[in-house]
């Protein structure tokens, strides 16, 4: 009885390992293909039957792709936008989270549910009039439309997430501070902010990803190439270089790499963030 059980267990584990190995291989292959294609010249890329490894490795593709467009500038632009948006979302949505969880004020419930109920609205409904409003205000072809919303609470989701997190922090802390005569601002900034670190990290990472990957907003607002972000520049790459797959793959790898680095540094918060999304929603 015990014997057969151990055998069954071993069979089960062997099957699982095999499946996991196959799946991991399949998930990894596209990464390999991106790098492999980035290091080949056109002749190697279009050889048939397919050539798997670059031979010789065309290292020049990387600097050539980088120099074919001002990528350093696009990187700097994206970086500035990321910093501005992360700071805005972290500060203003945690403030809103505080007001919607801790403070008692007229209109709180109504506004909170109004905010929540708009999460299902398709982006296109607000995108079109927002575009027209910004254009009328003369903000077309500037970064203003890409930054200002982050300083006004970020998204309904970010406000919701920080409110939910505030609800898990014991009230005794701010009650004690209130008795000691601390102001609301002091309670929020000095006492609660440090405790909020996990959710702030999650907000920061989501905003970072959102800004780094955003295509639609830069695409509709920016026309001057000097203001382009990496994603937009990459999307536009195919115009003049429609067939230059070596450059395109090199550029894709360059845009992907920082994201992967950030992931491995802050891995814990990525997973935490998604888990929070799934559970709190």
């Amino acid at each position: 009885m015990t014997m057969s059980r151990t055998t069954a267990r071993r069979v089960k584990l062997t099957i699982c390992y095999t499946l996991v190995a196959i799946l991991s291989f399949l998930f990894f292959v596209p990464f390999f293909w991106m790098v492999r294609s980035a290091l080949m010249d056109t002749a190697q890329l279009f050889r048939y039957p397919i050539q798997i490894f670059p031979n010789p490795i065309v290292w020049e593709n990387i600097p050539n792709a980088l120099q074919s467009q001002p990528f350093a500038l696009f990187f700097r632009n994206t970086f500035i936008l990321v910093i501005a948006n992360v700071a805005g979302v972290v500060i203003t949505s945690s403030m809103a989270g505080y007001a919607f969880s801790r403070l008692a004020w007229r209109g709180k419930k109504l506004l909170f549910y109004a905010l929540l109920s708009t999460m299902m609205i398709p982006g296109f409904i607000t995108l079109i009039p927002t575009f027209l409003i910004w254009t009328n205000l003369g903000a077309h072809n500037t970064w203003i439309p890409l930054i200002v919303p982050s300083w006004l609470g970020g998204t309904a989701f970010s406000v919701f997430l920080s409110r939910q997190f505030f609800l898990t922090i014991p009230r005794e802390l701010d009650e004690a501070a209130l008795i000691d005569g601390a102001s609301q601002w002091k309670i929020f900034w000095v006492i609660l902010m440090p405790l909020l670190r996990p959710v702030l990290a999650v907000l920061a990472i989501f905003t970072f990803m959102g800004t780094w990957n955003d295509l639609i907003n830069p695409l509709i607002y920016l026309t001057d190439q000097r203001l382009f972000t990496l994603s937009l520049a990459l999307a536009r790459f195919r115009g003049p270089f429609a067939t230059q797959w070596d450059f395109l793959m090199a550029a894709s790898a360059i845009v992907t790499l920082p994201m992967v680095v950030v992931f491995f540094v802050f891995q814990r918060y990525f997973i935490e963030g998604i888990t929070l999304t799934g559970i709190k929603a």
Partner: protein, 308 residues
């Protein structure tokens, strides 16, 4: 899922006097943002959709004419609705079943290196959308890696993105690479299933299959329900693959409704008509979500009785 959320304690009235001013100050930026970037534009969008403007708010009032046109004289509406619904019907089950299968696999007890396997499955989902679209376009080109791999085992390759039949399955297929987010949500759910339930099934002589069918699956239905809803809402708004890979082709076979809105607004600059199109999209999303919600009481299991 609400069971996991911390219970909301009403403020103790004695200590917390009403904080009218502080409340509005702290929530102020978010309220301005809500009015300026959500509620305001929504109202503006309704107005816009009832004018004939091309690129501003200065058009003439035409009432419901755009909406009438959508239902009677719009050549692309039915094509794009059919394409979008077909895509959702392919992509949502494909992604959810794959993500669920991988999550269950990567939750197997006794499997070594789980942390690393999970990372490998998750990392692709952080690849920037533009990069991943180009990568898959390259892998799935007629003489690309996918066809070479298929042909090496005797399956004929396809013209994925250039074939009316294959284009939607192909777009759904490349999305599998990005299912890491759903996988993590499922993993969190699977880890919340109490061990004792499995032990009870074991005592009753049940095997792997019974455990999965009578414990794992029912316990996971709330999470699956959540991901289905999110998948449908996201899927109905798909347009980036059309923007970057297919441009709606071949022969309109990937004419996503979202792409139709995008090109109407930002390529053909018919903003008012695009606004009307986007409200129809909202109604469709609302209707489909409502239908899925209505089915949920027959298959979604909430521990501790009805959903709250």
């Amino acid at each position: 899922m609400s069971t996991k959320t911390a219970a909301f304690k009403p403020p103790s009235r004695k200590l917390f006097k009403r904080n009218e001013i502080w409340g509005w100050l702290f929530a102020g930026p978010a309220i301005i943002g809500f009015l300026g970037f959500t509620l305001g534009p929504m109202i503006a969008s309704i107005y816009l959709s009832m004018t004939d403007s091309s690129l501003g708010f200065d058009g003439n009032w035409i009432g419901m004419a755009h909406y009438a046109r959508i239902f009677t004289a719009e050549p692309f509406i039915w094509i794009s609705v059919r394409v979008t619904l077909t895509f959702v019907a392919i992509a949502v089950p494909m992604h959810i079943i794959t993500a669920f299968f991988i999550a269950v696999l990567l939750n197997t007890e006794g499997l070594k290196g789980l942390k690393y396997w999970r990372t490998i499955a998750y990392v692709p989902s952080i690849v920037p959308g533009v990069a991943s679209m180009f990568l898959w376009r390259w892998i799935m080109n007629p003489r690309g890696l996918l066809n070479a791999a298929l042909e090496s085992v005797g399956i004929p390759g396809q013209n994925w993105f250039f074939d009316e039949f294959w284009v939607l399955p192909a777009i759904a297929f490349m999305g599998i690479w990005g299912i890491g987010g759903n996988m993590v949500i499922y993993l969190a759910g699977l880890q919340g299933v109490p061990r004792s339930y499995y032990d009870a099934i074991e005592v009753d002589g049940g095997g792997i299959f019974s455990k999965f069918r009578y414990c794992t699956l029912p316990m996971m239905t709330p999470v699956i329900f959540f991901t289905i809803i999110m998948g449908i809402i996201g899927g109905l708004q798909t347009f980036i693959p059309a923007l970057l890979v297919t441009e709606g082709g071949p022969n309109n076979a990937s004419l996503f409704y979202g792409w139709h809105i995008y090109r109407t607004a930002f390529i053909n600059f018919n903003m008012s008509y695009a606004a009307a199109l986007s409200w129809i999209m909202f109604l469709v999303i609302l209707a489909i979500t409502a239908i899925v919600f209505a089915t949920s009481k027959h298959w979604v299991y909430y521990e501790g009785g009805e959903s709250k």
